[in-house]
């Protein structure tokens, strides 16, 4: 099975609302990164976590290496938050390579 299970696959939000994305890992994970892919296809770094939580503006992420999951919370969603979000695990692959989830497409509407 997939080593990184990301949910939901799609998420529709109204401006001003909040929600969360989740990634479950089926193997020991040293760290997790979160990215947003914009409409041009560029991957934008959001967070790197080896443990605990980090917050940046309206985004907050947490990583529980013992329970093998990570979350990304979007607070007060804005139109510019639309895009596809990926989590990626550093799970002992060679050279610290990442294993990606399949992504969550977030659509924020007025």
């Amino acid at each position: 099975g997939d080593q990184v299970e990301q949910s939901p696959s799609a998420l529709s939000l109204h401006e001003g609302t909040s929600s969360a994305l989740r990634c479950n890992f089926t193997t020991t994970t040293r760290s997790v990164q979160w990215f947003r892919q914009n409409s041009r296809g560029s991957l934008i770094n959001l967070f790197y976590l080896a443990s605990g939580t980090k917050e940046n503006g309206r985004l907050k992420s947490a990583f529980d290496s013992k329970e093998l999951y990570s979350t990304l919370h979007i607070r007060d969603a804005q139109l510019e938050d639309s895009g596809t979000y990926f989590c990626a695990a550093e799970a002992g692959q060679g050279g610290r390579a990442l294993i990606f989830g399949t992504g969550t497409t977030v659509s924020v509407s007025p």
């Binding site: 990926f86 060679g94 610290r96 990606f100």
Partner: protein
């Protein structure tokens, strides 16, 4: 901010032809990676490198070769391109120490006809 560039950004190739995708990083990172992205799969690792002269197979290396002639440059080579290799290819660089992120290039769209 770390910088990773890729060329070309778009490429159309014919089946059986040779394709070389280039990546350059100015971060002085030891590790570099090539991933491909297909709908429904996220990004998957093709090859990676620990430094100049090093290339290692990732999860889906069949049909691809890699070359790391210097710290800054990492190429992905398709000797005999096939339509199944139509995809978006991302290069990334990262340090070999913990507590730091990987940085991705803008991607190369490859269409094999």
């Amino acid at each position: 901010e770390a910088a990773v560039t890729q060329s070309p950004r778009n490429k159309v190739a014919v089946t059986g032809g040779k394709v070389t995708l280039s990546c350059n990083q100015t971060n002085n990172h030891n590790n570099m990676y090539w991933y491909r992205q297909d709908t429904g799969h996220g990004l998957r690792l093709i090859h990676y490198s620990y430094g100049a002269g090093s290339t290692e197979k990732g999860d889906i290396p069949d049909g691809y070769k890699a070359s790391r002639p210097s710290q800054e440059n990492f190429s992905l080579i398709l000797e005999l391109a096939t339509p199944s290799q139509t995809s978006v290819y991302f290069c990334a660089s990262g340090p070999d120490r913990n507590q730091d992120t990987q940085y991705f290039g803008p991607g190369t769209r490859l269409l094999v006809l």
